[in-house]
C-alpha cells in the first residue's frame, strides 16, 4: 500500500470516528426520558399510592434537526383539580443534553428541567439564575410541584 493510500485510509477512518451517530443520540435520549419519568414516579410513589396524585402516561412527537421526528414518553400529573405536565422539549439543547418542561396547564407557569450528562444528571433552571443550577432530587422536585400547584 502506498503512503498516499495509507494516509487517505487513515483520514477516512478519522472522519468516520468524528461523525455524529444521530440515531444513537436520539435513541439514548428517548431512553433517558423514559428513565427520568420512572424516577419521577418513584419519587411520587407515596402520593400516588394515597391517591393524591394521579399519573397519566402520554406521548409527545418531537421534530429536531438531525434527529428527525420521533415519539417520546411524557407524563401528566393530576392533583387537587389541577394538571401539571412533564413534557420533553428536545435533545439538542444549548448547554445541556436534553430538556423536559414541568408546566402547570392552568397557570402556564413553567420550570425548565435540563439533563446535563450521565454524570451530572438533571438540574432545573431557576428564573433569574445563570450558573450553579440546582440538582434535581426528590425533595427539590416535590417543592417545585408544590410551587406550581399553589
Amino acid at each position: 500500500m502506498s503512503e498516499l493510500s495509507e494516509y487517505l485510509k487513515e483520514k477516512e477512518q478519522e472522519q468516520v470516528n468524528q461523525e455524529v451517530h444521530w440515531n444513537k443520540v436520539r435513541d439514548e435520549w428517548i431512553q433517558t426520558v423514559g428513565n427520568f419519568l420512572v424516577l419521577i414516579k418513584s419519587w411520587l410513589a407515596d402520593e400516588i399510592q394515597d391517591g393524591l396524585i394521579q399519573i397519566e402516561e402520554c406521548t409527545e412527537v418531537i421534530d429536531e434537526e438531525h434527529l428527525g421526528s420521533y415519539s417520546v414518553s411524557s407524563l401528566k400529573l393530576h392533583a387537587i383539580g389541577k394538571v401539571l405536565s412533564l413534557r420533553p422539549v428536545g435533545r439538542l439543547i444549548i448547554g445541556a443534553q436534553g430538556r423536559v418542561d414541568l408546566e402547570s396547564q392552568s397557570s402556564g407557569e413553567r420550570i425548565i428541567l435540563l439533563y446535563l450528562s450521565a454524570e451530572e444528571g438533571w438540574v432545573y433552571l431557576p428564573n433569574n439564575e445563570r450558573v450553579n443550577y440546582p440538582k434535581l432530587s426528590q425533595s427539590v422536585f416535590k417543592e417545585l410541584i408544590k410551587g406550581l400547584l399553589s
Binding site: V20, E65, I93, A96, L114, R130
Partner: protein
C-alpha cells in the same frame, strides 16, 4: 494598517467566530457554557437567534465602516480646502474658503461625494451614496422598508475603491 482595514479585520474575526459557534451548535449544543444567555433553548431556536443577531451585527459593521470612511473623506477635504485657502490671493475667495472650513460638520455628505466626481467614476460615487442611504436606514432605526440588501464585504470593497480612486490613503 488604516482604521478602515482594521475595522474590516475585526469584522472578519467576528464572522469567523460566528461560523464556529454555528458549527458547535450543529455538532453538539451541550458544549455551550452553563452561563450562556440562551441556556436551555432548543438548538434550532438558538440558531435563529444567532442568525438574527449576526444580521444586526453585520449592519452595525456597515455603520462603523461608513463612519470611518466619512471621517477619512472629511479630513481629506479639509486638507484640500486648507491648501486652497493658503494659496488664495483674493481676500473674498479666502474668506469664502474660511467660511466653508468653519462648519465642516454641516456639509452634506452626498454633496461632498459629488465633489469627488472629478476624481472618482460617477457610478462608484452613486454606489457609495446607496451605501450611505443604507447606513442611514440602519442608524435611524430601520423604520422604513429596507432600501436594498448589502453585505459588509462589498461595502468595504466599495469604500476602499473610492478612497483608492480619489488617491486618499486608506
Amino acid at each position: 494598517m488604516s482604521q478602515l482595514q482594521e475595522a474590516y479585520n475585526w469584522h472578519l474575526i467576528a464572522k469567523e467566530n460566528h461560523k464556529t459557534i454555528l458549527r458547535i451548535l450543529d455538532k453538539d449544543p451541550s458544549l455551550f457554557p452553563g452561563d450562556a444567555i440562551y441556556i436551555g433553548y432548543p438548538a434550532a431556536h438558538a440558531k435563529e437567534m444567532l442568525l438574527t443577531a449576526f444580521q444586526e451585527y453585520q449592519d452595525l459593521s456597515i455603520i462603523s465602516f461608513v463612519s470611518i470612511f466619512e471621517r477619512i473623506v472629511l479630513d481629506n477635504l479639509l486638507t484640500v480646502a486648507s491648501n486652497c485657502k493658503a494659496g488664495e490671493q483674493d481676500a473674498f475667495s479666502r474668506a469664502t474658503v474660511e467660511y466653508a472650513l468653519r462648519n465642516p460638520e454641516r456639509w452634506h455628505f452626498n454633496d461632498i461625494l459629488d465633489l469627488y466626481k472629478t476624481l472618482v467614476p460617477a457610478a462608484l460615487v452613486g454606489e457609495i451614496k446607496q451605501i450611505y442611504q443604507y447606513r442611514n436606514w440602519v442608524a435611524h432605526g430601520k423604520n422604513s422598508p429596507k432600501p436594498y440588501s448589502i453585505d459588509p464585504k462589498s461595502v468595504y470593497q466599495r469604500l476602499a475603491e473610492f478612497l483608492n480612486e480619489a488617491d486618499i490613503a486608506l
